[in-house]
């Protein structure tokens, strides 16, 4: 006991890398094996019943926590199929067990021996044996059309023509007008996919996978099969190309927030062209599950931060997806959308800092907040329920909301006269944490998504060090070498 370990924050990066890898790897066709349902039952009891239930009805003890709900195998409806009818192939079921379903609670069970996974396929099918009487019918996809600006344009036209935007939103951020009415086969509310985040696509984000989903739909959900509704069969591929153009393939999470040094004035407008030139850092947000009410299924899973500073002020540009713009209306269980950045009140060089969840009784944190309807404010918190506004606050900001996305600029002076508010200085690793609330999803107070501590660093003003040092080193090396040659020749 008592070992010291290095915990590099690179683990986050590695995880993101793994996700990216699993996305880019095309699913290799696996030869089907006949599974033994009786042997599968033993594995099922140990590994699957917790969510999918002993009877396969999706009512395991964890089910009430999870969103989306675990699949009810007794209905025999499978979301992800490569077939033209409602019957999946054994390989389809095997692949989902092996790779899991991104964006849901279904993990990749590649850790189980292959034999066990085939046995599970046989056992799971037995919950709705009558649905498999008709064999799977092979889906014939039209010939692949490579992505091009024309193809993407055609895909966008089709996207509107077949009304994808009604659920998925104009820019694919799951903010369509019908989103609130969507129910699955079991009458549970269901959210449309955010098409700008392909790493959360349930059936994978490969080209063929997306085209297949478009062609044969997602069973048990409101997503229909579109192969017969598009004008020409190859429109499936134009749509695929359009969808893949909506967002980056992987989130590439940041481990450090770099604040760029600038000399000019910083614009207030979140839509200013200025901000597109600042490199963003993507930060993953997780549910707050420490104090009640716990938030196991946070609505906001990512915030993108751009930050700059000049000699007077520091500015944060935050971008995140939220399908609804909502203000406080407690009668309707709606709350104001909000976001906050958290810092220690004093930046010290030691490892100690306040408790990551908005501080505690003994150590407070400083919060830089934006709330829909109220704007930017500064506060001190001694825990998530003990937030007090800061007197003489100087922070300002501006927000815009378009097509399911918030963009907010928050500015404040670089220095500070108040002991409860930090002063930022270049080249110092400054702890920072984030919290976000989607009021439209009922998030308020302690029901939030958050991060633990990250680092933020104000980059030193551009120096020419990197252009001066290398020639000096090269010349010194040459001088030493010439000296050696001379001495040797003497």
């Amino acid at each position: 006991m008592g070992g010291i370990a290095l915990i590099p924050s690179l683990t986050v990066l590695a995880a993101a890398g793994l996700i990216a890898l699993s996305l880019s790897a095309a699913p290799s066709p696996v030869a089907a094996q006949a599974g033994d349902a009786a042997a599968g039952e033993a594995v099922y009891e140990r590994k699957c019943a917790g969510c999918h239930g002993d009877k396969g009805d999706g009512k395991g003890p964890a089910a009430e926590l999870l969103a989306p709900k675990p699949r009810d195998f007794t209905a025999g409806l499978y979301k992800v199929r490569t077939t033209a009818n409602k019957v999946p192939t054994d390989q389809d079921i095997f692949r989902i067990i092996t790779d899991g379903m991104p964006g849901t609670s279904m993990p990749a069970w590649a850790v189980l021996p292959e034999k066990d996974r085939w046995n599970l396929v046989a056992y799971i099918k037995a919950f709705a044996a009558e649905k498999f009487k008709e064999g799977p019918k092979k889906l014939e996809l039209p010939k692949d059309v490579a992505s091009s600006p024309e193809s993407i344009k055609r895909g966008k036209e089709m996207f509107e023509a077949i009304e994808c935007h009604k659920c998925h939103g104009t820019e694919g951020r799951a903010d369509g007008p019908s989103r609130a009415e969507l129910k699955d086969e079991w009458s549970n509310p269901i959210a449309p996919a955010n098409l700008a985040k392909p790493w959360t696509f349930r059936g994978g984000a490969g080209r063929t996978e997306i085209a297949t989903r478009l062609a044969n739909g997602v069973l048990g959900t409101p997503m229909p099969a579109f192969l017969d509704s598009v004008e020409k069969p190859e429109d499936i591929w134009h749509l695929t190309n359009f969808i893949l153009s909506l967002g980056a393939a992987s989130p590439r999470y940041a481990t450090l927030v770099t604040v760029t040094a600038v000399s000019d004035a910083i614009p207030d407008d979140p839509n200013a062209d200025y901000w597109t030139k600042v490199a963003p850092g993507n930060i993953p947000l997780m549910g707050q599950v420490i104090v009640d009410p716990r938030n196991f299924n946070p609505a906001i899973d990512l915030v993108s931060i751009r930050a700059v500073y000049n000699d007077r002020e520091i500015a944060f540009h935050l971008t995140w997806d939220d399908p609804t713009q909502s203000a406080d209306d407690p009668a309707k269980k709606l709350y104001a959308d909000a976001i906050s950045l958290q810092f220690p009140p004093q930046i010290t060089s030691g490892p100690e800092r306040p408790y990551f969840l908005m501080g505690d009784g003994s150590d407070a944190v400083y919060l830089l907040r934006w709330e829909n309807g109220k704007g930017v404010s500064e506060a001190t918190a001694n825990g998530p329920t003990k937030i007090a506004p800061l007197a003489g606050a100087e922070a300002t900001g501006k927000a815009v909301y378009t097509n399911g996305q918030y963009r907010v600029v928050i500015k404040r002076p670089l220095g500070s006269k108040d002991a409860a508010s930090p002063a930022f200085s270049p080249a110092v690793f400054t702890p920072v944490a984030f919290q976000a609330w989607d009021g439209g999803a009922g998030e308020a107070g302690t029901k939030m998504s958050l991060t633990s501590w990250y680092y933020l660093r104000l980059e030193e003003p551009q120096s020419n060090r990197r252009f001066v040092i290398p020639p000096v080193v090269a010349i010194l090396t040459l001088a030493v070498m010439l000296l050696v040659v001379r001495v040797a020749n003497r």
């Binding site: 915990i7 986050v12 481990t255 549910g287 408790y355 690793f429 080193v473």
Partner: protein
């Protein structure tokens, strides 16, 4: 293969092979600082070897001297005079232009537990404490099943379905959730240690373990003493690990 008999070529070969083995043979890869240390030791050993007697040393130095003096090696000499300064200059550039990385978090992963701790108004002695649920074999299975349910309702989102620390939230937090399948976690700890960690969570850690970073809740607010013991027997049962036992006192 006569050039293999040259002392100089031998020395270079040993260095190259040592580098390849150390760089690619160790999984997970060792950090550069460690690699540099190992390579300096290898270099030292090689120098000791080639200078073991004066003949060997002369043979080792001969090609180097030749390159520096010999008129028919002018081209090689010129090449080196250009290549090496450029190489060093490039290295200096990569160092000067490098983007800073987030500093590593140093923390004690398994700090020493207290001898006793308060738990819901009473004092629990940790030293020498055993899991009371292991005494009665008849009810053991029932406790494992109850522990499984507690686990999936509370622990799943971080520690994962497969108890490998890869739950929904795992990649968002630093330090990451414990991987119970790893022999370096619960297999080397007493059950009383787990009881302390589960009951007091992140906020109950000593300072050397950075309590302000840990997102582990203090479960004493949510679970009873019996429930914590149940989830502990589930952790060992589901992973097939055995808890460490207290040393026999004489």
């Amino acid at each position: 293969m006569s050039f293999l008999r040259s002392r100089f070529v031998q020395a270079v070969l040993v260095l190259v092979i040592a580098f390849v083995v150390l760089r690619f043979g160790i999984q997970p890869p060792a950090p550069w600082s460690v690699l540099t240390l190992y390579m300096s030791i290898v270099l030292l050993a090689v120098l000791v070897f080639v200078s073991s007697d004066s003949d060997s040393w002369r043979e080792f130095v001969r090609p180097i001297r030749a390159t520096l003096i010999s008129p028919d090696k002018r081209r090689a000499r010129l090449g080196l005079l250009i290549a090496l300064p450029l190489l060093f200059g490039y290295y200096a550039y990569t160092q000067a232009a490098a983007k800073p990385q987030a500093p590593p978090e140093l923390r004690a992963v398994h700090p020493a537990p207290p001898a006793s701790m308060p738990f819901r108004g009473k004092e629990i002695q940790i030293t020498g404490l055993d899991n009371p649920l292991r005494k009665d074999q008849a009810t053991f299975k029932k406790h494992v099943a109850a522990g499984a349910e507690i686990y999936i309702r509370n622990c799943l989102y971080c520690h994962g379905d497969n108890l490998d620390g890869k739950g929904h939230f795992a990649y968002g937090f630093n330090p990451p959730p414990a991987n119970f399948q790893d022999p370096g976690t619960i297999a080397m700890l007493q059950e009383a240690y787990l009881f302390w960690r589960i009951a007091k969570g992140g906020p109950g850690l000593p300072k050397e373990s950075t309590p302000w970073n840990s997102v582990m809740p203090a479960w004493e607010d949510r679970l009873t003493e019996g429930q914590i013991w149940q989830v502990i027997v589930y952790l060992y049962d589901a992973t097939g690990q055995q808890p460490r036992r207290w040393e026999e006192s004489h």
